[in-house]
C-alpha cells in the first residue's frame, strides 16, 4: 500500500498538469492531487445550469506555449483553439471602434476615427512585433540570479545583456519605455483616438491592481503581440469547450504518459524530514510518499500553508508575506435566451463572434480603478465580454447562449468585506452597465452567476482571488518571482519545488512555469 512516487504534484491547475505530463513523459511515476472534483483550477468549464457550459473563470487561451502544444501533442488530446478575431468597443455616444481580423478592414475602421491613427497603427504594430520578438526569449528562460557569483548565473546575465544590446538603440529605448511607462502615456505618444487608447490600455491592466495611467502597465500591451508571433499555433483564441478543455487536454496527455490524477484529494501539508520533502498528508489523514514534491499552488499557500514556518528561512518568509496578491477581477457568467443587441451595432452580427470591450474612454477605465483604490468595486467597471456559444455552439442549447463577462475592478479587500448582498450588488453593477450599451439584455437573462475575488479564492484556492498567483508588477517579476534568490522553481526545502504562475514567467494560460519547473526537476536528477 505504501507506494513511493517519483513526484507528487499538488494542485491540478494547468501548470501542475503540465509539470506532471513532462515528468511522466520522462518516465517518472507521478500523481497529481487536486482538491476539487475536477482538474483545471481557474481553467475550468462547468455546467452550472443544465445545458449551459460556463468557462467559469478564465475564458481565452492566451500565450499557451507552442512547445507545450507540440511536446504533449495536445491537439490529439482534444485541444482545438478557435479564432477570436475581432474586438468591438461600444462608445457612449452610440458609435463604436472595431478591430477586425483583416488588416485593411481595421485600417479603414480606424481611418474614420483618425486618418493619422490608421497609419500610426501600422507602425505601432510593427514596433510591438519587434518588441515581442525581443522579449520572447525571456519567457522561456530560467531567471538568472543577479546577486550570485555562480558562473552559470553570470553567464546567463551576460547573455541577457548581450541580447538586449543586440536590439540596437531604437528598440532598446522602446523596450525601456515599455517596461516603465503607463499604458496610457505610452499610447499617448502614438495615437489620438481616446477610445482606441482606452481599449488597448485595458489589456494592460488585466489582473493588476493598477490603472491605465499607472506606470508599469505598458509592457502588458506586448502580450497580445507575443501571441501573434506564434500566429500559426494560434496561441490567442477560444478553446473549443472553454478553457476547461485546455486543462482536460493536458490532463489527458499526462495520463497518456502514465501519470495518475486524483481528484477530491485536498492536500493539508507537505511532509518534511531533515529539511527535505518526503511526501504529503491529505486532509483526510492519508499520507502519500514521493521522492519529490511539486506545488502548483500560489506562493502563499505553497510556503505559508503547506509548510511549517520553521522549515523556512525568516528572510524568505517575510519576502513571501510581502508578495502582493490583491485580487482585482471578478466574473459574471450569464445564460441567455438570445444575444443582446448593442446600440452601436444593432442586431446579431460578426461582433458577437469576437470580444466586446467596455472601455469607451481612458477616463472611464481610470475611474473604474479609482473606485477600487479606495476599497469599492467599480460602479461602472471595465469589462471584456465574449459569447462562447457563438464560437463553439456546444456551450449552450441551440438558439440559446452563454455570455462570459470578465470584470475589473472588484477588489478582494472590499470595504466591509464581501458577502452575498455585496456579490449581488456587484453583479447588478455589471449587468446595468452592459444594459446601458445593450438595452434589453436583462430581459434575456435566464441565469446569472457572479464570481467575486472572495469566491475565486474559496473555489480555486487562488489567494486573494488574484488570477495570476501574484501581481505582475516589475518588482515581483523575473528573478524576483516569488522572491529574490528563489526564482528557479526550487525552494529552501530540498526536493520541494514550485511550478505555478507565482513563478516566472507569471500568469496567463501559458504553461511555461509548469514546463520550466519540470525541466528543473529532471535536471536536478530527481
Amino acid at each position: 500500500m505504501a507506494v513511493l512516487y517519483d513526484a507528487i504534484v499538488i494542485g491540478g491547475g494547468h501548470n501542475g498538469l503540465v509539470t506532471a505530463a513532462y515528468l511522466a513523459r520522462a518516465g517518472k511515476k507521478v500523481v497529481v492531487l487536486e482538491k476539487r472534483p475536477r482538474v483545471g483550477g481557474a481553467a475550468v468549464t462547468e455546467e452550472i445550469f443544465p445545458g449551459f457550459k460556463f468557462t467559469m473563470f478564465s475564458y481565452v487561451v492566451s500565450l499557451l506555449r507552442p512547445e507545450i502544444i507540440r511536446d504533449l501533442d495536445l491537439p490529439r488530446h482534444g485541444l482545438h483553439i478557435l479564432p477570436l478575431e475581432s474586438t468591438v468597443t461600444p462608445m457612449e455616444n452610440g458609435d463604436y471602434l472595431a478591430a477586425w481580423g483583416d488588416h485593411d478592414e481595421t485600417r479603414r475602421e480606424l481611418y474614420r476615427h483618425s486618418p493619422r491613427d490608421a497609419e500610426a497603427y501600422d507602425e505601432y504594430g510593427r514596433l510591438m512585433h519587434h518588441m515581442a520578438h525581443a522579449v520572447r526569449p525571456i519567457l522561456g528562460m530560467v531567471p538568472p540570479d543577479p546577486t550570485s557569483f555562480d558562473p552559470r548565473d553570470l553567464l546567463a546575465l551576460l547573455r541577457l545583456g548581450r541580447h538586449f544590446r543586440s536590439l540596437g538603440a531604437e528598440r532598446l529605448h522602446a523596450l525601456v519605455k515599455l517596461m516603465t511607462m503607463s499604458s496610457a502615456d505610452f499610447l499617448d505618444e502614438w495615437f489620438e483616438t481616446d477610445v482606441l487608447k482606452a481599449t488597448k490600455s485595458a489589456s494592460g491592466i488585466i489582473g493588476t491592481f493598477l490603472g491605465p495611467r499607472s506606470p508599469g502597465t505598458a509592457y502588458v500591451l506586448l502580450h497580445h503581440y507575443m501571441g501573434e508571433l506564434d500566429g500559426v499555433f494560434r496561441a490567442w483564441g477560444f478553446a473549443k469547450g472553454g478553457t476547461g478543455a485546455v486543462s482536460e487536454a493536458i490532463a489527458s496527455a499526462a495520463r497518456g504518459f502514465g501519470a495518475e490524477i486524483r481528484c477530491d484529494a485536498p492536500v493539508a501539508r507537505v511532509l518534511v524530514k531533515g529539511g527535505r520533502a518526503t511526501g504529503v498528508a491529505l486532509e483526510n489523514g492519508d499520507e502519500v510518499s514521493a521522492k519529490v514534491v511539486v506545488s502548483g499552488l500560489d506562493p502563499r499557500r505553497t510556503f505559508l500553508q503547506l509548510l511549517e514556518e520553521r522549515e523556512l528561512p525568516a528572510e524568505f518568509v517575510s519576502d513571501i508575506r510581502r508578495f502582493k496578491f490583491r485580487g482585482s477581477s471578478g466574473k459574471v457568467n450569464l445564460a441567455l435566451d438570445a444575444l443582446p443587441s448593442f446600440t452601436c451595432m444593432p442586431g446579431v452580427g460578426r461582433h458577437h463572434r469576437g470580444a466586446i470591450s467596455i472601455s469607451p474612454s481612458l477616463a472611464y477605465v481610470e475611474r473604474a480603478y479609482d473606485d477600487a483604490k479606495y476599497g469599492e468595486f467599480s460602479r461602472r467597471p471595465y469589462m471584456d465580454i465574449v459569447f462562447p456559444s457563438m464560437i463553439d455552439p456546444g456551450m449552450a442549447p441551440p438558439g440559446k447562449h452563454v455570455m462570459s463577462v470578465f470584470v475589473q475592478y472588484a477588489p478582494y479587500h472590499l470595504n466591509g468585506g464581501w458577502n452575498d448582498a455585496k456579490r449581488e450588488a456587484f453583479g447588478d453593477a455589471v449587468v446595468n452597465t452592459i444594459e446601458s450599451f445593450a438595452p434589453g439584455l436583462k430581459s434575456h437573462i435566464l441565469h446569472r452567476q457572479v464570481i467575486t475575488p472572495a469566491d475565486i479564492e474559496r473555489i480555486t484556492g487562488l489567494s486573494e482571488g488574484n488570477i495570476f498567483q501574484g501581481e505582475l508588477a516589475l518588482h515581483q517579476l523575473f528573478f524576483l518571482r516569488p522572491a529574490a534568490g528563489w526564482a528557479k522553481f526550487r525552494t529552501p526545502v530540498r526536493a520541494y519545488y514550485q511550478c505555478g504562475a507565482g513563478t516566472h514567467p507569471g500568469g496567463g494560460i501559458m504553461g511555461a512555469s509548469g514546463r520550466l519547473a519540470a525541466l528543473a526537476i529532471l535536471g536536478d536528477g530527481a
Binding site: G94, D95, D102, E105, R108, H113, P115, E119, E123
Partner: protein, 408 residues
Amino acid sequence: MPHEPFCVRFAPVLLRTTPFHARTAALSEGQAWRRWAGYVVASAYELSHDREYHAIRSAAALFDVSPLYKYMITGRDAARLLDRVVTRDVGKAKVGQVLYTPWCDAAGKQLDDGTISVLAEHTYRMTSADPNLRWLHRNATGLDVAIDEVSERTAALSLQGPTSRAILQVAAQRDLAGLKYFHLTEATIRGIPVTISRTGYTGDLGYEVWVHAAQALPLWDALIETGTPYGLTPAGMLALDVARIEAGLLLIEVDYFSSRHALIEAQKSSPFELGLGWTVALGKESFNGKPALVQEKARAPAWQFTGLAVDWESLERLYADVGLPPRLPTQAWRTSVPVYSGGRQVGYATSGGWSPLLKQYIALAHLEGTFGTPGSAVEMEITVEHHRRRAAARVTKLPFFNPDRKRT
C-alpha cells in the same frame, strides 16, 4: 472627426471599391480581382490578360489607378516640406512639372517612392504607394504648410499606349503634342475638369488623368466612348505588371521593402542600390537621409538593381533535357529567385516574366557589387519539372523597352 456618419458604417463590409467600380465590375468576365491599398481592383477583365497587355504596346490601355495615396501639400512652406522629405530638388521644379522621387529615413534607406506634381505655386500633389500622412505631418513641424489627404476624393486613370495621345486630344478637344514627358496640364473632358499628366507605369507613351471622385464615372464613359475607335481597352494589373517589368520600373513590397516594414537591416535598400541614384540631389542643403547618402555615394555600390535577359538556348536545353518544350510564365511573377555566378549566389531577381513584345524572358534583379555590370554573364534559377536548374542570363541595362514615343 469621423468622415462619414457612423450609422452608415454599420454594414461591416470589407474592402473599398474605387470610384470606377460600377464600370469595372460590369466588365469583369472572370471575376479576377485583387487588393491594392485596401481597395479591390481588377487583375484582368477578360479571362486572360493577353489582349489587355498587347493593347498597351499597340493601341491604348485604360487602367484604374485610384488606390494610389494622394496628398495635397499647400502653403508658403510646401516646397520646403517636400524638399525636406524627398531626395529630388522640389524647389527647382517649375509649375507644370512632375517629379518621380523616392524618399528615405534618417539612415538613407528608402521608405517609399511616388510622384510630386507641381500644380501651381505653393500647390503640390504627392502620390505614394504606402500611406504617408503621418510621415508628412511629422516632418512639417514648424512649417507653414497644409497637408490634406485626398486619396478618396481624387480618382485617377492611366491611359497608356501609342494611340493614347490621339484619344486624349479628341476627348479634351485640344492639342497635347506640346505636353512634355513628366509634365502636366489642366484640361476639361466633356466639361469635367481634369488634370492630365504625361506620366505612367508602362515606360511608353501615356498619360494619367486625375479627376474628382464624384465625376469618375462620367470621365470613364467619355474616355471609353472616345477611345474605343482607337482601340482603347480597359486593362488590369496583370497586364500592367508585364509592361512595368519591360520598363524596368520597381514596385514596393516586391522589388524592395520600405525600411518601415523591414524586420532586419538586410531588408532595407538605399536609392543607390535601387538604380535611383539619379533622383538623389546631393546638392540640396538638407533632406532626410542626406548625410548617409553622401557617405554611400563615396563608396562602391554594395548592390545594383538591373535587368536580366535569360538566354533562350540555355532555357530550351533545360526543358529538352526532360523532353518538354520550354514553358514560359505569361503572367509576371513576384517571388524571389536566386541568381548565381561562378557557382555562388550573387543576388536575386524579384520580378520577372515573359515579354511578348521583346520575345524575351526578362527579370528585374539585385546583384552584388560588380556582378551587376551590364553585359555580365550570370545564371538565374528556374524550376523545371520539380527540379531547380539554372539558365544562363545576361545582365541588361534597364529599361528593356524604351520607345522614342515615350518622350517625344
